[in-house]
Symmetry: C2
DNA sequence: CTGATTGCTACGTTTTATGTAGCAAATAAT
DNA sequence: ATTATTTGCTACATAAAACGTAGCAATCAG
């Protein structure tokens, strides 16, 4: 796995601009979901698997590694969870949840 | 392509909870990036391709279709761009950009 | 020392994305 | 009217990513 951190190029951007790095990681399957499931409590590898609809361990492991490399998640005796850095990102996901709710209300009203 | 809108099941969630639908879509390759590139101005299909590092038309078309189905993007004589619904999501991406910047500053300080 | 749990790897199959070519419709230029 | 361009998009063969299942070494509990 190639190094992936702010300041380094990622797929589709050689500038290493932080937002590009972040979108590159979050745009991978299950990344957002993993962060979402950790929003309230730390979870073990297998707990995460369950919550993420039995995601394959291959991918889960890969994502966890990436997210830890980026200092968004860490791992201790209580399982995987946010770092201080990551907590702030978790807040954004909560905000996104609020948005999603309103978006759904409005969208469902017009279409079906 | 299967129907994808709030209220309908998505990969890894049969509840159809809006956040799940949103994460399912945004977690696909290039989805976040496409929204990001449209944050300031409308762009044509080919302009989007350029901005997104020459993303293949197959995927670009697929994403645009999904994002339009979800009422996040639309298309008019000036190209593709946000709907009113989508604009709000765009704001969240801008917030994410601010976060990414601070995250990068802090992370780069500690790791290389 | 036995059994369960935890984090993780191997590996063959399926799904998704890539890259290149090109087409039909709309617009602009000659 | 007739080219030439631009635009949105599809076809299709190749490559990359994710899936699903099995299982292993390390830790912890009984």
């Amino acid at each position: 796995m190639t190094t992936k951190k702010p300041g380094h190029p990622v797929r589709g951007s050689n500038t290493g601009r932080p937002i590009m790095v972040l979108m590159d990681v979050l745009g991978q399957r299950w990344a957002l979901r993993i962060l979402w499931e950790l929003r309230e409590e730390r979870l073990t590898f297998r707990q995460l698997q369950e919550r993420c609809d039995q995601i394959s361990p291959t991918v889960l492991n890969r994502r966890l590694k990436e997210l830890r490399d980026l200092d968004l998640l860490d791992h201790n005796g209580n399982g995987f969870g946010f770092t201080d850095q990551g907590k702030e990102l978790g807040q954004h996901l909560l905000a996104l949840n609020d948005y999603a709710q309103r978006w759904a209300d409005r969208t469902q009203k017009t279409k079906e």
